[in-house]
């Protein structure tokens, strides 16, 4: 009906058909598979020549009408149903019949006869006997009788009544009560009581107790055989339900305190009580928190006792603290507890646990302290033979030297080194180390590209730190979140000079003489010592002389020679260059000035640096009035350079030549001049509005508020709409260039619409503006008050109204549409209807059809708006939301209806189908009425709505899984010649041939005029569905399958697979909007 020209029908001579390649390819195995299981259910060969979805309902109802007759048939006919009764049952039934017949007994036996029968045949196991009699009596007996009389069964089975039978465990059979023999033959009980013994066959039996016979436990007898127990062996205790401790509980209360103790000795001093407390706060309210110190050193032991309590409101509940303590322990039981990089054990405070932990830790500490002192002593000892020791240490680690660029900073002091790679790997920062090592007397941290150098002033301290911390100190890795042991590399000072052993870091290059006192180096002779000393002194003197010469001689000479006065020709050149630059800027500034209508630049105090701009401004001022007429002709001329560029340039020049231009007396004079003139101009500011209005009326007729287009440029550069004119505005600013009092608002320029009265009124901000405006329009004070002036207020009000409406409507249009209306579509003058008809290209439609811009947001054909929430602002979001709220209704109902679908539905449908088939066979006609469209049953709930791709599209109402069937492409099934004829006709009438779908060489499905909604599926270069041709009941059908998982409300698309069209005009553009869109359908 719509969407003409969507798909071009493949040319008849072409060998490829619509779903390209799919037909030949999928004839084979894939469809075999599809057909195989369906053979039983799809065996209605008389499918209608064309299936149409809208007929399907009709057919189903027909089907239901025919569902009734079969049941009637079952009743009337002698149905072969009897064949289904199990054979055994039948034989028994027959046997009973015959048994009844063979016996010359009344059919309704009396009670007596029943008993007598029971007595006469004491061994009567009735069913067994009957079975035997059947086999003996045989069939001939029955054949004598024409038909057995009806039987009442209970008369036969009375003997089976169970209460007279007991199971004899010895003979292992049922015995009648009368037959049973009692074990107590004599009928009297033994005096000694009974005892269980084993008889000859190892059966337990009861006997009178005899002192000789020992009683045995019959249970034990069976034990060797019956030892197989099905019970599982328990290897741990079963959980006993926890008994909640409350006020009625007896006994000591369960522990509600936990002990947090370190797993190993912690050197981390940054662990603070509060952090521990915070850590355990999450389990409950802490009533008591205690940390313990080493009694010997008063250092924290990092043992914490945390007692929980119930929260305020539930103090009576004694169980809460217990629970929280238990939970805290449980949480850390397995994985342990890491707090600030240290490992802690968490345990319930039971009995003496706290004391135990404390004592062990204190002992350990004492031990460690001893070790430490030993180490200290040993290191001190080692210091005596430093060189050897140092070498030893450095041998242990890969040799590392201080990089050259750090050498000075390190100043040949001992340092520890951590590699940068290691730090980066774990995300350590210098601060971490600083914090960790703050107890040590390091002198500085040097962050270098190779790593972190911790410089110590003292080798002893350095070594102590190294030995205590390297490999023991842990930091929590930021990348792996586990504590990492830090290994330092000790870089001892290198002995360049024998005298340079780093005692206490006092030895520096500059003061060798002072530090010589502490030198350990011993000189052999006095001469040697003197020589060495002289060497040092000479070196020092030399360096001092060097700097002196540099400072006092070379420096001044160089500066003197560089004095600009020495190079007059160069300076003149430079000046001329400078002047040229000035001129350029001047002209630029003049032009700029012409574009401006500022009054109050005068107030700007120009700072000292940009002196050369003074002239430009001065010129501006002097030529202000005379330039105006000129400016009109010049106004369209653009600035030589944009303002920003000018400013940049100036900043640059200021940096380069800061001194040359600064503070000349001329500048100051100019500033004064500016100040004076500006005050005079600002005085005349009062009442400018009145004047302006008059100006406006004369300048532009009321009916045409727009000033001539030419003028707009001039005005546009004037001040923006900022109403509150405060004195602040006129304050001078300390910028290099004069600034306009009001910010320049060039946005007006960009408006395509002519200037409105509001714009104009906003533009003219003060006296100077008005003055310029008057000049511009050559305004003359009217001698007499015009009659038209009386309407002036109204006219201006009207113009303002119009402007207000205009902006309001424009805002609203944007809000509704999000995208401005394409200027190409704007109607030039007059209303839409007055314009000539024109075809809107699909591309431009996006600018006024919001739904076209939103893929997978179907626009319902009829969109019910929610009346409550509808108010003036119908934003598109709201609209779309409303659509959403409206949408689910149909889909839900469909879903509910379809929920039972899929397998069950299809199974029941198959059964129904079979019934119909049987019915058809019975009727013996090839009536179309009974042919079912079983594809319909597998259909997914889909709907059509306005699409972003093309007019209409098909949308999934609920999510569809990949490879599921979605819908059949239904239409009239026509032969090839008919299709050709129709195609021609459709093309002629302008419908296009978009809905013709070729099935095979001879058949085409035409959904143009009669067809299902599958024809609404749009083309997409990245399709979500595919069309397959499958054989159903001997007919080829087109079925749309999902290619991938499809979300609800997503548009269904498939690749039309049109042949490539060579003629550019014939090509159909594609608007599918997918990432890899080819741009054309064909």
């Amino acid at each position: 009906m719509s969407g003409y020209h969507r798909r071009s029908y493949p040319r008849p001579p072409s060998s490829s058909h619509r779903p390209h390649g799919s037909a030949p390819n999928h004839q084979g195995p894939p469809y075999q598979e599809e057909r195989e299981p369906s053979r039983s259910r799809y065996n209605n060969d008389g499918q209608g020549s064309f299936q149409e979805t809208r007929y399907s309902g009709e057919r189903e109802s027909i089907g239901h009408r025919y569902q009734q007759p079969p049941s009637r048939v079952y009743k009337d006919q002698k149905h072969p149903d009897s064949g289904r009764v199990p054979y055994a049952a039948r034989s028994i039934r027959r046997a009973i019949d015959e048994h009844a017949n063979t016996r010359p007994q009344p059919f309704f036996p009396t009670r007596d006869s029943r008993y007598s029968q029971g007595n006469s045949s004491p061994t009567a196991h009735v069913p067994l006997k009957i079975a035997k009699s059947v086999s003996s009596a045989g069939k001939p007996v029955r054949s004598l009788h024409s038909r057995p009389a009806p039987i009442i069964r209970y008369s036969e089975v009375t003997n089976l009544t169970a209460k007279y039978h007991y199971f004899d465990p010895v003979s292992k059979k049922l015995i009648h009560k009368d037959e049973m023999s009692t074990w107590n033959q004599k009928g009297k009980y033994p005096i000694t009581g009974f005892v269980t013994i084993l008889d000859s066959e190892q059966h337990p039996m009861i006997q009178a107790r005899n002192p000789e016979i020992k009683s045995i436990d019959p249970r034990k007898l069976t034990s060797p055989t019956a030892s197989i127990s099905h019970r599982k062996l328990r290897n741990n205790l079963t959980n006993v339900a926890r008994i909640v401790y409350d006020k009625y509980s007896v006994g000591p209360p369960p522990p509600c305190a936990i002990i947090v103790s370190p797993t190993s000795i912690i050197n981390n001093t940054m662990i603070q009580d509060i952090s521990i407390k915070n850590y355990f706060k999450k389990f409950g309210v802490i009533s008591h928190f205690e940390s313990f110190n080493d009694p010997n050193s008063a250092l924290p032991l990092h043992i914490y006792l945390i007692k929980y309590t119930a929260p305020n409101g539930k103090l009576s509940n004694l169980d809460i603290p217990v629970k929280s303590a238990y939970q805290a322990v449980k949480e850390f039981k397995e994985k342990g507890c890491f707090i600030m990089g240290s490992n802690f054990n968490v345990a319930l405070n039971k009995e003496k646990l706290l004391e135990d932990i404390k004592t062990t830790l204190v002992e350990e500490n004492i031990k460690k302290a001893k070790q430490l002192s030993a180490v200290a002593i040993s290191t001190e000892k080692k210091d005596r033979a430093p060189i050897a020791k140092n070498q030893k240490i450095t041998m242990e680690r890969p040799k590392r030297s201080i990089p050259y660029d750090l050498a000075r900073a390190v100043n040949n002091k001992p340092c520890l080194f951590v590699s940068r790679v290691f730090m980066a790997l774990h995300g350590f920062r210098t601060e971490d180390f600083k914090y960790k090592l703050r107890r040590y007397r390091y002198s500085k941290f040097l962050d270098h590209i190779t790593g972190l150098y911790i410089v110590f002033g003292d080798l002893l301290e350095c070594k102590k730190c190294f030995e205590l911390e390297s490999g023991k100190m842990t930091l929590v890795s930021r990348s792996r979140r586990i504590p990492i042991e830090i290994r330092f590399v000790l870089i001892p000072p290198v002995d360049q000079l024998p005298t340079r052993f780093g005692g206490f870091g006092k030895s520096t290059n500059l003061s060798p003489s002072t530090s010589s006192a502490s030198h350990v180096k011993v000189y052999k002779t006095k001469d040697e010592l003197i020589n060495a000393t002289v060497k040092y002194i000479l070196k020092d003197l030399k360096s001092i002389l060097d700097t002196d010469i540099r400072k006092r001689l070379i420096g001044p000479t160089v500066f003197d020679t560089l004095n600009p006065t020495n190079f007059p020709e160069l300076m003149s050149k430079k000046e001329s260059k400078e002047r040229a630059k000035q001129n350029a800027i001047e002209t630029a500034a003049v032009e700029q000035k012409k574009l401006r209508e500022s009054t109050n630049q005068d107030f700007d105090i120009f700072n000292l640096y940009g002196g050369y701009t003074r002239k430009a401004i001065k010129k501006r001022r002097t030529s202000e009035l005379s330039d105006i007429s000129e400016s009109i002709s010049l106004k369209k001329k653009k600035l030589a350079r944009p303002m920003a560029h000018l400013l940049n340039e100036d900043i640059g020049s200021k940096e380069n030549t800061p001194t040359l231009e600064s503070a000349t007396p001329f500048d100051e004079f100019d500033n004064d001049h500016d100040l004076l003139s500006s005050t005079s101009s600002s005085e005349a500011e009062d009442g400018f509005i009145d004047d302006k209005q008059k100006v406006l009326t004369n300048e532009s007729p009321v009916t045409t508020p727009e000033t001539p287009q030419d003028d707009s440029l001039l005005f546009s550069s004037s001040k923006p709409p900022k109403v509150d004119v405060t004195a602040d505005l006129y304050k001078p600013s300390a910028t290099e260039f004069p600034e306009t009092v009001y910010k320049e608002d060039l946005s007006i320029l960009k408006l395509s619409t002519p200037l409105s009265i509001v714009d104009l009124q906003n533009m003219v901000r003060d006296d100077e503006d008005l003055f310029l405006l008057k000049e511009l329009v050559a305004y003359k004070e009217p001698n007499t008050v015009n009659a038209a002036d009386e309407c002036l207020e109204y006219a201006i009000w009207k113009l303002r109204e119009w402007k207000k409406n205009d902006t309001l409507i424009k805002e609203n249009q944007l809000k509704l549409n999000e995208v401005p209306f394409a200027p190409a579509l704007k109607i030039k003058n007059g209303p839409f209807k007055a314009e000539n008809i024109r075809k809107v290209p699909d591309r431009l439609k996006n600018c006024y059809l919001p739904h076209r811009r939103k893929l997978h947001q179907p626009l319902n054909t009829v969109n019910q708006h929610n009346t409550e929430s509808v108010d003036k602002e119908n934003s598109p979001e709201k609209l779309s939301k409303r659509e959403d709220t409206v949408k689910p209704e149909p889909s839900e109902s469909v879903v509910a209806q379809e929920i039972s679908s899929s397998r069950d539905n299809r199974a029941s449908n198959r059964r129904f189908q079979q019934n119909i088939e049987a019915q058809r066979a019975a009727i013996g006609t090839e009536s179309e009425l009974l042919s079912l469209n079983q594809l319909n049953k597998r259909k997914k709930p889909v709907t059509f709505a306005r699409s972003a791709i093309h007019n209409w599209g098909l949308y999934a109402l609920e999510p569809i899984a990949a490879r599921e069937m979605i819908i059949e492409y239904v239409g009239e099934s026509i032969r090839q010649p008919v299709a050709e004829m129709r195609e021609r006709r459709y093309l002629k009438s302008g419908i296009g041939s978009s809905y013709l779908f070729r099935v095979d060489e001879n058949n085409v499905i035409d959904a143009t005029k009669k067809g299902g909604i599958a024809r609404f599926i749009n083309h997409c270069c990245d399709p979500s569905c595919t069309a397959k041709i499958i054989k159903v009941g001997g007919k080829r059908r087109i079925v749309i399958y999902a290619l991938r998982d499809i979300a609800a409300n997503e548009e269904l698309t498939y690749d039309y697979k049109f042949e490539r069209e060579l003629d550019a005009e014939e090509r159909l553009p594609c608007y599918c909007g997918s990432v890899n869109c080819k741009g054309f359908l064909n």
Binding site: N805, P831, F832, L849, N860, N863, H865, S989
Partner: protein, 325 residues
């Protein structure tokens, strides 16, 4: 035979922008669009009743009278619709369309307003609250004309669009009841002939449709086929550029026993007005030789009230004619 009764003087500046002239339901007033203003002409005093200023910022395409003669709804190019009361001024500004509003019509009781727009949708508004009730997006081109069925509680709305479809909607549910298309001579080089105007017959059973090939047809809306076709001349159909006006003129019966058949009045691109008998297809009147009225300007609007017919051409000529059989 049409005779000119009077000529309505229109505003100078509106020349070339006049698109719609409508009789009020009681036939006393005529509303003519004048850019963003609406001129009301009083037929009884034969003078301009008033000029209503609206808050539109773009010209008005069409106006519609409310059934109580009190309100005017105006469809403007600024995407809004304004409902103006003749004495109390603006009542509502309806915003919701995303493109120029082209056509609009009230229902019989005046509580609903149907508007159609270039954005291919038809919106149904509650005129009391000024709230939008439904949006029908059933066309794929600008919807240029709406007509409400004068019979049967105005439960059927007809729309004509540039996509060449005439659709009939149930005004309650908004669902499309029928699509009138695929007529036997419905063909052109471009495929579709855009519809320019639709108008229900007074009895609500037929639909007068003019399309851009200049052919006027009467459709039987129930059966869905064309019952009459009118062409201005025997020659080939001409491609029009404007939505020229058409209307039924229901003659007042001179003799009471048999109502005369309604006439079809149609305006054309070059300013001619033709009048046919809707039953016999006989051309009763043609202004082809008339050099006084609407010379070479497309007739934008034709509206009839009883024996009166108001014609408006784009260049701002507006005449009221009287039909005398």
């Amino acid at each position: 035979m049409f005779t000119t009764l009077l000529s309505i003087p229109l505003l100078e500046e509106s020349r070339g922008h006049c698109t719609c002239a409508r009789f009020s339901p009681n036939g006393r007033l005529i509303a003519v669009t004048q850019l963003t203003q609406i001129l009301i002409y009083d037929l009884q005093t034969r003078a301009i009743h008033s000029i209503i200023p609206t808050s539109h910022v773009a010209p008005i395409s069409e106006v519609a009278w409310s059934p109580d003669n009190q309100c005017l709804a105006s469809a403007s190019d600024d995407f809004t619709i304004e409902i103006t009361h003749l004495t109390h001024g603006c009542l509502h500004r309806l915003m919701g369309h995303t493109a120029p509003v082209i056509s609009l019509t009230y229902n019989d009781s005046g509580n609903l307003l149907f508007t159609s727009s270039m954005d291919e949708s038809i919106k149904i508004w509650d005129t009391f609250h000024g709230a939008i009730l439904k949006t029908i997006s059933a066309h794929s081109e600008s919807v240029v004309s709406l007509s409400i069925c004068p019979d049967r509680d105005s439960s059927v709305l007809a729309s004509g669009s540039f996509d060449g479809l005439i659709r009939l909607f149930d005004t309650r549910t908004g669902h499309c009841l029928k699509t009138l298309t695929y007529d036997k001579d419905w063909k052109s080089d471009d495929g579709v002939v855009p519809i320019s105007q639709v108008r229900f017959s007074p009895n609500g059973k037929f639909l007068l449709v003019s399309s851009f090939d200049g052919i006027v047809k009467i459709w039987d809306c129930v059966r869905g086929y064309v019952v009459r076709t009118f062409k201005p001349s025997d020659g080939e159909s001409v491609a029009l550029k404007h939505c020229c006006g058409i209307d039924f003129l229901a003659q007042e019966g001179s003799n009471s026993e048999k109502l005369p058949t309604p006439l079809v009045v149609s305006g054309y691109e070059t300013g001619q007005i033709y009048c046919w008998d809707s039953n016999t297809k006989e051309l009763l009147y043609s202004s082809a030789n008339d050099d006084l009225h609407h010379v070479n300007s497309p007739i934008m609007s034709i509206h009839c009230y009883k024996n009166l017919m108001c014609s408006l051409s784009l260049n701002g000529e507006c005449y009221v004619w009287q039909w005398t059989p």
